[in-house]
């Protein structure tokens, strides 16, 4: 790849002055140089494809939470691209118990300490985790 061919296809993923891709490309004399790139369409597309799949799953779960079929834990779990196993590893709560907490009826009976453990893993506040109205608007 020549320096002039290093793509600069900005798709909002990277940010100049913060993080860009370091590419290696050859100059006119054939010598390798480092060049920063803000992105390249094929890989932006690959990125979008991966994100789209995550988002589809998040949307699906969101509807189920709004319909009262699942607790907010299910929504934030999907949003953090986690599964029950990973949430269990982060919280120390057994998987079997977490599966129960996905049930909205069990969820509302959780004590504040348990809510806090989950909220911390999802990087949100306790009140946000409890607030289904908020999820509707996310």
């Amino acid at each position: 790849m020549k320096i002039k061919d290093v793509p600069q296809d900005d798709d909002g993923f990277l940010e100049e002055g913060k993080v860009r891709d370091m590419c290696y490309a050859v100059d006119e004399d054939g010598n390798y140089k480092q060049v920063l790139s803000i992105g390249w369409n094929p890989k932006n597309e690959a990125m979008k494809l991966a994100l789209q799949l995550v988002n589809e799953q998040v949307e699906k779960t969101k509807q189920q939470v709004i319909e009262g079929k699942l607790s907010p834990i299910a929504y934030y779990m999907e949003k953090c691209i986690m599964d029950v196993k990973l949430v269990s590893q982060y919280t120390g709560i057994p998987k079997r118990k977490i599966r129960k907490h996905l049930n909205p009826d069990v969820f509302i009976k959780l004590n504040p300490a348990e809510i806090e453990i989950y909220a911390k893993v999802f990087n949100i506040s306790n009140t946000d985790l409890m607030d289904i109205e908020k999820i509707k608007n996310l």
Partner: protein
């Protein structure tokens, strides 16, 4: 307390950490040099191991190998640690910083606050260097970032003890002893020989050139076997591994070409310049593959023929890379 540590951005995190740490100890090796001596070029396709439900494709050896090989080949002594107790991991790191030692470590990127949001997957093999602490805040040299970043005590603890696949468990490492004189030439030759061995002779069809041919063969049937959606997903993943932050373009092939170019000078063996050019050409082919692949999955593979085109392209790449490593194999001082 802040150590006088020079942060330099690089394509790949492990190369960058290694190169920056070596610079600190007055061994100024570039990123391509580190990558080449560490035999960082590789290929593997392991369809029966899945990460996020997608088969594993990789263009590099396992995390940690580059640092280990480079320091060993240069006769540099290192220390490495792993912890079960986060407090102890932080305390021992603090003690090292206090003594003026920059510390490299493995972290998970999901909770890495300064990382762009879209890149914060559960990936646990990211490397960075901690080189200072003021109050509750650490100075971080993260090789993929353009500038020095900071993390609080709590944030750093969280990323050092990320969970999931291959948890970092507070792993950290530093350089403990540097020899008076290093033998760069010999290290380069060993690094090249190692890469040749990895690419040509592993007797399992998933690795090296054989691995490229293996995925080429399988990829042709992805749309029939898995359906369009899954085939697109698999293809997307290959591109991401090929071009994601850290490869310098074309799955490290350009960095390796840069390494060969630099080595031609150091070893005074101009024939390596020609091989470097061939490597650049292969890199361009890989880019062509990524370009074609993206077009294929964007269309959601309405034309099956493109998958066989992609497969043909990979076979060509495999042939070219095989020729390159057969040439490199005979290298000596």
């Amino acid at each position: 307390m802040k150590i006088d540590f020079k942060h330099k951005q690089s394509a790949h995190c492990e190369n960058g950490v290694t190169s920056n740490l070596l610079h600190f100890y007055n061994i100024p090796l570039s990123e391509p040099m580190v990558f080449g001596i560490g035999a960082g070029l590789f290929f593997s396709y392991i369809p029966f191991i899945k990460l996020n439900f997608i088969p594993v494709t990789s263009f590099r050896p396992l995390p940690g190998f580059i640092f280990k090989r480079v320091t060993r080949r240069l006769g540099i002594k290192t220390k490495r640690f792993k912890y079960s107790n986060p407090e102890q991991a932080m305390k021992e790191m603090d003690a090292l910083l206090e003594k003026g030692t920059p510390v490299g470590m493995l972290v998970g990127v999901f909770y890495l606050s300064y990382f762009p949001k879209e890149f914060r997957f559960h990936f646990n093999a990211h490397n960075l260097v901690v080189f200072g602490k003021e109050d509750n805040t650490y100075s971080i040299s993260d090789p993929v970032m353009e500038n020095v970043e900071t993390l609080t005590y709590e944030e750093l603890t969280k990323v050092r003890f990320a969970k999931g696949t291959y948890p970092p468990k507070g792993r950290m490492y530093y350089i403990s002893e540097v020899p008076q004189k290093i033998d760069l030439k010999e290290a380069i030759v060993k690094g090249i020989k190692h890469a040749c061995k990895d690419m040509l002779t592993i007797p399992i069809p998933l690795f090296g050139i054989k691995g490229i041919r293996y995925i080429a063969k399988r990829l042709k049937n992805w749309p029939n076997k898995y359906g369009d959606k899954k085939a697109s997903l698999y293809l997307g993943q290959v591109i991401r591994m090929l071009e994601e932050i850290g490869t310098g373009g074309a799955g490290f092939r350009f960095i390796y070409a840069a390494f060969l170019q630099e080595s031609a000078d150091v070893l005074e063996q101009p024939w390596l310049l020609d091989v470097s050019k061939e490597m650049t050409a292969v890199g361009d082919k890989w880019r062509e593959f990524a370009y074609l692949a993206a077009r294929t999955f964007k269309k959601r593979g309405t034309e099956i023929s493109t998958y066989s085109q992609l497969s043909d392209l990979l076979f060509k790449i495999a042939d070219q890379e095989e020729a390159i490593f057969r040439k490199l194999k005979i290298i000596s001082l």
